[in-house]
C-alpha cells in the first residue's frame, strides 16, 4: 500500500481513488458478517465469484463482500448497487439467476422481498419497512465498505475527520466539538464522552495516558459492536486516533472478546493497513503526532465489560472490579489515566468531526443526541440491528421497524439493556428511548439489546434466566453480588417450581433492593433490575405462580406438567387417553375422559380445545395433536352408559336439597356431581327440555341432538329431578326456593338475552337478535331468515347464525359484517373457514351506523368503514372510523350477534343478589358465592357467553363449594399443581407403522352436500387414522411418570440389540 506522509498527500490519494472508480458499474454486495456467513453467505460468495469468472463478467459486474447489513431476518441477503435492489434469503441457485438478471439489466421479480403486511413485492432496500424508518448513520457504511480494503473506507470519507483534526491542530477544539455534539457513552451508562475526554486531557502529562475501546460485548442477544468491528473497523481506529489527539493519550488498546474471531481478523488487518498508510503509529501524516493501538483479547468473562475489571484484565490480572473512586480517568491501566469508550461511541467520533457537532446534535432529542444501534431480537418479525435516533418511541421500533409479533400471540414486554436491564411492559411502549426515560422506567439503555417477549414468555422465567446468567457471571468479589444473585436465583427457582410462598416474594424484593444499593460495580448494581422491573410490572404473574400454582405462559415446567392437561379447565389428561388410544384400549381411554368430564361426546364436538392450542407439538413448529377429534373417536366407540361413576353418598347429604337453576352444561354438571355425593337436586329449566345453550344455541350440524340427549340422559339419576318450563323471575324466585327447604341454590341460567346495538330503528321487522333467531329455529323449526341476510358480529354466535341462515330455504345470500379484521375475530378460526367454504360472505372493518326501513320492515343497513390503529395495552388492535367511507347494503334480514346476557327479569323478586354492570351476577370468584348467603352462581350468567368446557369447570367447582357450604366446611379449593401421575407405557412403533408425521384432520362432509342439510359435518376418524394421529403425541407426561430405569437395564437393552 502507498504510504502517505502528509495531509495533502492523503487528499491527493483520496482524489485519485474517487476519480478511478465508476459508480455506474453494477456491484453485487454480499452481507458476510458472522451472521451472514452462518446463514450461508460464504456459499453465495463462491457462487458469485465462479459465475462472474465463468461468464467473463468481472469487468461488467463488481463484487463487494461486506460486513453485516443489519436485517438478520433476511440473511443471507444480496444488495445490488447502484439500483439499491435487495434480494432476501438468497440461495445458490437464486444467486445464479440474480447475476443473470444484472447482466441483462433487469430485476428478478420473484426473488424480491414480500411485505408481510400487504403481500406486495418491494425492490429497493430503502423502501423496506425495516430500513425505511431507521436513521443509519453508522450502519449504512457497512454496505459500502469491504472491511479489508482501506481504499473503500477512504472512498467513503474515511480518515477525512482525522485530516481535518490534524490541519486544525487544536486539541481543545475537538473536545469542545464532542461536548457540543452531546454524544453520551454508547456502552450504556450514558456518561458524556466530551466530558470524559476533558478529564483525561486535564490529567497531568507526566506519564502515559491510555485510551481504551471496550469491545467486550457480553450481553446475550446483542451484537452491535461486533457488526461495527467486522464491517467497519477503520471507523473505530479513526475515532481513537482523534480521541488521542484531543486528550494527549499515548497508547490505545482495543479490548475485544476472543469469541469474535472475524472482528479480530478484520481489526488486525485494519490496524496493519492503517500503519502502512501512515495514519497510525509514529508521526501520523507527518504531523509529529504519534499514537498506536494494541489489540487485547478478552478471555470471556461478562464482568470484564465493567471498566475497572476490564483494566485489571488488560493488566493481566484476574478480571474483577474495584471500588471507584479513584476513577479510571484518574488511575487506570498500571495506575495511568485511562479513558474507556464503547465501540459505538468511537465509531461516532469521525461522523461528528466530519459533519460538525451542530449537525450531529440535531439528531435525536435534547440531552440525548445522535443515533443508537439496537439489537432487536426475540418474538418479533424483523429481527436485526436497528439504528434509530434517540428519543424514538419503543412502539415505533417494535411495530413499525420490527413489524410486530411473529405469530398470533401478542407482544407483552420488551427487555432492554441485557441481563442488567429491565422489562418494559407493552402498556408503556409510548416511552421514548433515551438514557433517562429508560432508567426511570426501571430499565437501562445498556449496550442496546432489545429482547421482545410475547404472551408465551413467562416473566418469572425471564427473571430467573437472567439471574442464572448473572450468578454465574458475577465475579464473586463483593459479597452482596455473589450471594445476592445466588439467593435471588434460589427464590425465583422456587417460585417457578411452585414451592414458594408470598413471604418469599417480599424477601425477594427486599433482597433485590439491597443488592442494587450495596454492590461494588455496575454488574451487581444492575443485577436486581430483571427482578425489580418484572416485579414492578408483572407482579400478578408472580402471584399466579405462588398462589394459584399456574404459569399462564406454559413455560415453567414444574407447574405446567403436560401442557394439554394443565390447559384444560377441567383437568382432563389428554396425553393419557391418547396413550390408551394408541394402544387400542378404548374403554380405558373413555374412562380417563369421563373421570374429569361428564360430557365427553359433547366436548368431543364443540370444545374450544385449549389443549390443542397449548400442545407442545404445535408450539414447537408442527401442528398440534388433534385432541378433540381423537376424543370424538373414543366417544363414538364407547357407550356412555358403560361408565359407572363413583358414588359417595353420606346419610347426612341425602337429607339435603339443592336447587340448580338452568340446565346448561354448568347446571347439569353441578347437579351430577352433587347427586354423586348423595344430595337431592332439583333442576329448574325455563325451556321445555334440559340442555340450555347446548340446545338453544349450538346448531345441529355441529352437535347432533341424539348425541346431546343421550349424554344428558345418562347424567340424570334418581337424585336429580328436572322441572322444565319453570322460569326464574316469572314462575319462582330464589326466596321461594329457600322457603321450600332448599339448602343451597346454584344459579346457572346462562345468557339468553341479546344485547342491542344502540342504533335507531333497531326494532324494525326483519332484525333479530342472534340468540332469538337460533332459538326459534332450534326449538320450533322457524325459518326467520329471508333474502339477503346480514350478520353483525364476529363471535361464534355470529358464525352459527350465519351458517344456520345459509341452510334456511328462502335465503339468497349471507354476509357477516365485523368491525375489526379477520385476525381479530373471536370465533374459532375453523368455524370461520367452514362458513366461508359454505359460501358465507365476510366483510371486515365495517360498523353499522343506521337502519333504513320501509313500512316498518328493514330494507337497508348503513355502514361505515374502519381502519385498524396501533395495538392497545392489551395488544389488541383498536379501530377507528374513516370519515366519508359510509356505504349502505340492501338487506332483508339482519341478525345481531354482539353478545348476550342474562334475562333482565331473572332476579325480580329474589332479594340480596347483586349484579355488576352489564347485567352479570356479581360473585366472589374464589367460591362462586353471590352476595346472598347460600346462593351461588356460575357459567355464562356470570362471565357472559363462554365456552362449554369453562361452564363444565364452573359446574364442578360449584358442586365442591356447595358441598363444603352445606357441610359447614371452609369454602376453598386449594391450588394444586396438575402434573401427570399415571404411567402409560408408550406403544412401540414399527417403522412401517410410522407413517407421516403430519396432523390428520378428521373427514368432513363435502361442502356441496352439507350446505343445505343439518347433518353433522365432521365425521369420525377411521381406526388407522386415529391411531396414527394418536402416535404423534410427544408424551410430555413421560418426563414425570416414567419409572426410573436402573443403569443395569440400559445395559440389557443395549445387549439385546447387539
Amino acid at each position: 500500500m502507498q504510504s502517505v506522509k502528509s495531509a495533502e498527500e492523503f487528499l491527493d490519494l483520496r482524489k485519485r481513488i474517487i476519480t478511478d472508480r465508476d459508480l455506474k458499474i453494477p456491484t453485487i454486495v454480499i452481507s458476510a458478517g458472522t451472521c451472514g456467513q452462518a446463514s450461508g453467505a460464504n456459499d453465495l460468495i463462491r457462487v458469485a465469484k465462479r459465475e462472474l469468472l465463468f461468464k467473463s463478467l468481472t469487468e461488467r459486474i463488481h463484487l463487494r463482500i461486506t460486513g453485516c447489513h443489519g436485517f438478520c431476518e433476511i440473511e443471507p441477503s444480496v444488495l445490488i448497487e447502484p439500483r439499491g435492489t435487495i434480494y432476501p434469503k438468497v440461495g445458490i441457485n437464486e444467486m445464479v439467476r440474480i447475476i443473470e438478471g444484472i447482466d441483462q439489466g433487469r430485476v428478478v421479480e420473484d426473488l424480491l422481498y414480500t411485505n408481510p403486511a400487504t403481500g406486495q413485492k418491494i425492490e429497493k432496500q430503502a423502501d423496506l419497512p425495516f430500513y425505511k424508518r431507521q436513521t443509519r448513520t453508522i450502519l449504512s457504511q457497512n454496505e459500502k465498505i469491504d472491511p479489508i480494503r482501506t481504499y473503500n473506507y477512504i472512498e467513503n470519507n474515511g480518515y477525512l475527520a482525522l485530516v481535518r483534526v490534524l490541519q486544525k491542530s487544536d486539541s481543545k477544539w475537538i473536545i469542545e466539538e464532542i461536548k457540543a455534539s452531546g454524544l453520551r457513552g454508547r456502552g450504556g451508562a450514558g456518561f458524556p464522552t466530551g466530558l470524559k475526554w476533558e478529564f483525561l486531557a486535564n490529567q497531568c502529562d507526566s506519564g502515559e495516558k491510555y485510551l481504551v475501546c471496550n469491545a467486550d460485548e457480553g450481553d446475550p442477544g446483542a451484537y452491535m459492536d461486533r457488526s461495527i468491528l467486522e464491517g467497519n473497523p477503520h471507523s473505530v481506529i479513526e475515532g481513537m486516533i482523534i480521541g488521542a489527539y484531543a486528550t494527549g493519550a499515548t497508547k490505545g488498546i482495543i479490548y475485544v472478546r476472543n469469541e469474535y474471531p472475524l472482528a479480530i481478523k478484520h481489526l488486525v488487518i485494519a490496524l496493519r493497513q492503517a500503519r502502512e498508510l501512515g495514519v497510525l503509529g509514529d508521526n501520523i501524516l507527518g504531523s509529529g503526532f504519534s499514537f498506536d493501538i494494541e489489540l487485547v483479547r478478552g478471555a470471556g468473562a461478562f464482568v470484564c465489560g465493567e471498566e475497572t475489571a476490564l483494566i485489571r484484565s488488560i493488566e493481566g490480572k484476574m478480571g474483577e472490579p474495584r471500588q471507584r473512586p479513584p476513577f479510571p480517568v484518574q488511575k487506570g491501566i498500571n495506575g495511568n489515566p485511562t479513558a474507556i469508550n464503547n465501540v459505538e461511541s468511537w465509531a461516532n467520533i469521525p461522523v461528528i468531526i466530519r459533519d460538525t457537532a451542530r449537525k450531529y446534535s440535531k439528531i435525536g432529542t435534547k440531552g440525548n443526541s445522535g443515533t443508537k444501534i439496537f439489537s432487536l431480537v426475540g418474538k418479533i418479525k424483523n429481527t436485526g440491528l436497528v439504528e434509530v435516533p434517540l428519543g424514538i418511541k419503543i412502539s415505533e421500533v417494535i411495530y413499525d421497524i420490527g413489524g410486530g409479533p411473529v405469530g398470533d400471540a401478542k407482544i407483552k414486554a420488551v427487555q432492554t439493556g441485557g441481563p442488567s436491564g429491565g422489562c418494559i411492559p407493552a402498556s408503556m411502549f409510548d416511552l421514548s428511548i433515551d438514557y433517562d426515560s429508560l432508567t426511570k422506567a426501571g430499565s437501562i439503555m445498556g449496550s442496546g439489546g432489545m429482547i421482545v417477549m410475547d404472551e408465551n414468555t413467562c416473566m418469572v422465567d425471564v427473571a430467573k434466566y437472567f439471574m442464572n446468567f448473572l450468578k454465574d457471571e458475577s465475579c464473586g468479589k463483593c459479597f452482596t453480588c455473589r450471594k445476592g444473585t445466588q439467593r435471588m436465583y434460589e427464590i425465583l427457582d422456587d417460585i417457578t417450581k411452585g414451592n414458594a410462598g408470598m413471604e418469599d416474594l417480599d424477601l425477594l424484593e427486599e433482597l433485590a433492593s439491597v443488592v442494587k444499593d450495596t454492590t461494588m460495580c455496575g454488574l451487581g448494581h444492575g443485577a436486581s433490575n430483571p427482578v425489580l422491573s418484572t416485579l414492578r410490572y408483572f407482579r400478578s404473574e408472580y402471584i399466579r405462580h405462588i398462589v394459584d400454582k399456574r404459569c399462564d405462559a406454559y413455560v415453567c415446567k414444574d407447574l405446567v406438567g403436560a401442557p394439554c392437561q394443565s390447559a384444560c379447565p377441567v383437568g382432563t389428561e389428554p396425553w393419557r387417553y391418547i396413550a390408551h388410544l394408541a394402544r387400542g384400549e378404548y374403554e380405558e381411554a373413555y374412562r380417563v375422559i369421563r373421570e374429569t368430564n361428564p360430557f365427553p361426546s359433547i366436548c368431543a364436538r364443540v370444545c374450544d380445545h385449549n389443549c390443542e392450542n397449548r400442545c407442545k407439538l404445535g408450539t414447537t413448529g408442527s401442528k398440534p395433536v388433534a385432541v378433540r377429534a381423537l376424543k370424538r373417536f373414543i366417544a363414538d366407540r364407547v357407550d356412555p352408559a358403560s361408565y359407572r361413576p363413583v358414588r359417595q353418598p353420606t346419610a347426612e347429604n341425602e337429607s339435603k336439597k339443592v336447587a340448580v337453576v338452568g340446565s346448561g352444561p354448568a347446571g347439569l354438571t353441578t347437579a351430577h356431581y352433587l347427586s354423586l355425593k348423595g344430595y337431592k337436586v332439583t333442576i329448574f329449566e325455563a325451556d321445555k327440555e334440559p340442555g340450555g345453550m347446548l340446545l338453544a344455541g349450538i346448531p345441529e350440524y355441529r352437535l347432533p341432538r341424539n348425541v346431546l340427549r343421550k349424554e344428558i340422559e345418562c347424567l340424570l339419576d334418581e337424585n336429580i329431578n328436572v322441572k322444565c318450563e319453570t322460569t326464574l323471575g316469572k314462575d319462582f324466585t330464589a326466596d321461594d326456593l329457600f322457603k321450600d327447604g332448599f339448602g343451597a341454590v346454584f344459579l346457572a341460567l346462562g345468557a339468553h338475552h341479546s344485547k342491542s346495538m344502540g342504533i335507531e330503528g333497531e326494532n324494525a321487522d326483519g332484525i333479530y337478535p342472534s340468540i332469538n333467531f337460533l332459538r326459534e329455529f332450534n326449538f320450533k323449526g322457524q325459518n326467520l331468515a329471508k333474502g339477503h341476510v346480514g350478520i353483525i358480529g364476529g363471535g361464534n354466535s355470529a358464525i352459527d347464525a350465519a351458517r344456520v341462515a345459509l341452510r334456511q330455504s328462502d335465503v339468497e345470500s349471507v354476509t357477516i359484517f365485523y368491525r375489526r379484521s379477520r385476525k381479530e375475530m373471536p370465533a374459532f378460526q375453523m368455524e370461520i373457514d367452514a362458513a366461508l367454504e359454505e359460501g358465507v360472505n365476510l366483510q371486515t372493518l365495517v360498523s353499522p351506523t343506521g337502519i333504513i326501513s320501509e313500512n316498518g320492515r328493514l330494507s337497508k343497513v348503513e355502514f361505515i368503514r374502519n381502519e385498524l390503529g396501533k395495538p392497545d395495552a392489551s395488544g389488541r388492535r383498536s379501530f377507528r372510523e374513516i370519515p366519508g367511507s359510509e356505504f349502505s347494503a340492501p338487506l332483508d334480514t339482519l341478525i345481531v350477534a354482539i353478545g348476550e346476557q342474562m334475562y333482565p327479569y331473572a332476579l325480580d323478586g329474589s332479594s340480596g343478589i347483586e349484579t355488576v354492570r352489564g347485567g352479570a351476577i356479581a360473585i366472589d370468584e374464589n367460591n362462586l358465592s353471590t352476595k346472598r348467603e347460600g346462593v351461588f352462581a356460575g357459567g355464562d350468567v356470570v362471565t357472559g357467553p363462554n365456552s362449554v368446557i369453562n361452564a363444565i369447570a364452573t359446574g364442578k367447582k360449584a358442586a365442591h363449594i356447595i358441598d363444603c357450604y352445606l357441610n359447614e366446611r371452609p369454602m376453598i379449593i386449594p391450588a394444586e399443581k396438575r402434573l401427570p401421575e399415571v404411567y402409560v407405557e408408550p406403544v412401540a412403533v414399527s417403522p412401517e407403522d410410522q407413517g407421516s408425521a403430519d396432523r390428520i384432520e378428521p373427514p368432513n362432509l363435502p361442502v356441496e352436500e352439507r350446505k343445505r342439510t343439518f347433518a353433522e359435518i365432521e365425521l369420525c376418524y377411521s381406526v388407522e387414522d386415529a391411531r396414527c394421529e394418536a402416535r404423534r403425541c410427544l408424551r410430555c407426561d413421560l418426563e414425570f411418570t416414567q419409572p426410573e430405569v436402573e443403569e443395569d437395564d440400559y445395559v440389557k437393552v443395549g445387549e439385546n440389540k447387539a
Binding site: 471500588q323 464473586g476 468479589k477 459479597f479 439491597v514
Partner: protein, 225 residues
Amino acid sequence: MINLHINGLRVSVEKGTTILEAAKFLGFPIPTLCHMEGLSPYGACRLCVVEIGEGPRSKLVSSCTYPAEEGLKVRTASSRVVKARKMVLELLLASCPQSKVIQDLASAHQVSRQRFKQEYEDCILCGLCTRMCEEQMMAKAIGFRGRGENRSIGTPFDIKSEVCRLCGGCIYVCPACQLRCTYNQPEKAICGGCANLSPPCVEKEKFDDMMCYMDPCVVCEIKKD
C-alpha cells in the same frame, strides 16, 4: 486537610483518609469483616456501607474504600444503611452461621433469623487471608480462583505452595473459622490459632482427621502420620 461531615459532625482529615478511618476517629462504629489495618482496603464484605450525598442522588458506598472528599456528607447509620447492613448480615448468617464473628455482628444488629436456605460454608471470601499472605507475608501463596458461586481460595492448582512458609497468618486473620483445633484431646486445645475444623483456604478432603493443612502445624507441632 479535607473537611467533611459525618452524621452532622464536622471533621477534618488528611488527604487519602477513608470514610471508615474518619468515622472511627470520631467514634462512630462501622462494622467490618474484610477490613484490617495494615492490609489494603478491599471493599468485599459490604458491611461497612455508609450513605453519602443528599436527596435523590444519595447512595451507599463502602466506607473502607471511599476516600474523604471535601464537603462530603456521610451518614453511617441511616435507615437505608441499617436496612442494607441487616440484609448483608442475614445473608452471612444463611451462609456461614457457625462463625462467632458473624453471630456476634448479627446479634449486635438485632438480626435474629435468616430466611434463606441454610448453608454451612467455611469461607465468606473476604480476602483477608490472601491480602495477609501477599501484603504482610510477601508470599502470595494463596489467591482467588473461579468466579461467582465457584469462587474460592487456594493455592495454584491446589498443589502445596512452595512459597508458603506455614506462617499461619491466613488463619489468624480469618473471621469465619472459629472452630478451634483440639487434635484428639479436646481439653488440650491450644491457642486456637493453628487450625480449624475446616480452614478456608484449602480443600477439605486433603486433611484427614486432623483437618489441618499445616503439616506439621507450626503451632502445635503435631505431624500427621
